[in-house]
Symmetry: C2
Subunit: 219 residues, 2 copies
DNA sequence: CGGAATCCTCTTCGATACTG
DNA sequence: CAGTATCGAAGAGGATTCCG
């Protein structure tokens, strides 16, 4: 079965990478794991109904290729989880560029589609501009519908996570459909008029937020 | 049949982009067109035996979505060609990151695979570091096997093309399999020992070349 | 009960033949 | 040359079964 895999057989890194990553679901599995280790069941739910056989196949392949590791959480949890290796996590820039392309070219997210807070974390990471963050510090909390996540800018690094954060400089509160419009590139001033988008923080902090996370016009 | 398309239905730019680009061959078609307009037949050959029905389907879809335009070359040529629109060309960073990921993580290109000079152009564009090119000028010619292409660095911009160039500062001459090893991240010093890799140019120009085009260690 | 293999149906792919 | 049509093969989706 070793040679039974379809491949492009081209001496090109694009084709070679796509041989591994180009199958359906694969990059979305990477997206989920970028936020942190996940259990098999969590992945099934997050991906919205991938067949368990496919997920099993994909994880096996990614593990073979060294992008994903299967690990057992230490006791007392002792449950198996999947997590990205360094090589797997190195794919993040690929996902960033997909997001940035979508925003830049104005491709609207479907309004009838499902959404997960972790995807918003990925989106914010994609839109972050480290080259503008030189020496700036900023602590952000996002409250989208029932979901809360945060981002911390330190120097030119960005750390993100689910849940609240201590002493935020900026708190973004938005309804999910409004946050989707933010991801579609609409300016905060416009969103504010809906009454379902609110930015709390000092003027200075709010300006930094706008500067550090690009939307359409500035990509 | 309008809704007969399989999609992820997720409010996430990664998933949304992949709905369009994630099918087999699609991103490789974009890769080909990044180098310039191509005829249908050229694409079939460059892609190494894609079914003409699939190529037809993909081009149709890409045209619908505004990433590709079908155009007729002005007389006397008067032949139809496909070319990227601005939105299509905006995908280039996605391909860059795929190449950089492959190099960075040391994924070797298959040695028995086909290769095309245009892929080498894409590779060099991917490895170019504009942030290190500040104010530098450099004219490069690459001779790989029978194929010749060039790159011109001006300011922090890079322009590439097939064929020779006037007054090159650096000429890289390599056998195809050695150039593949360069793409795999091997250092020029090592490649030089094979006798099938040669760099011509002033010491200053050669240093610039190494600085402006990253290989594994410095990505 | 979570994790993964199996089975069956449907869609997509790939190769070639065919038409304007 | 530029595609369209056709058809067997491979892959995807979904439900169910097996296993620890």
């Amino acid at each position: 079965m070793t040679s039974g895999r379809r491949g492009y057989q081209q001496a090109c890194h694009v084709a070679s990478a796509l041989d591994l990553l180009g199958e359906r679901w694969t990059l979305l599995i990477v997206r989920e794991l970028l936020i942190g280790p996940r259990r098999f069941r969590d992945l099934v739910e997050a991906l919205g109904g991938i067949g368990t056989n496919l997920l099993s196949d994909r994880l096996k392949r990614l593990a073979e290729e060294g992008l994903v590791a299967r690990r057992k959480l230490p006791p007392p949890a002792s449950v198996p989880v999947y997590e990205l290796t360094e090589a797997g996590a190195a794919l993040e820039p690929v996902l960033w560029e997909l997001v940035r392309w979508g925003v830049k070219t104005g491709r609207d997210l479907p309004s009838d589609a499902s959404y997960r807070p972790t995807w918003l974390v990925v989106a914010m990471r994609s839109l972050f501009r480290p080259e503008r963050a030189e020496g700036l510090d900023l602590r952000l909390e996002f409250r989208v519908g029932e979901d809360v996540f945060h981002a911390v800018v330190e120097g030119s690094a960005l750390v993100t996570g689910l849940g609240t954060i201590e002493r935020p400089d900026v708190v973004v509160t938005a309804a999910p459909e409004i946050f989707r419009r933010y991801e579609n590139g609409e300016r905060p001033e416009v969103l504010a008029k809906t009454g379902k988008w609110k930015l709390d923080g000092s003027k200075r902090a709010l300006m930094r937020f706008e500067k550090l996370f690009a939307v359409k016009a500035s990509l």
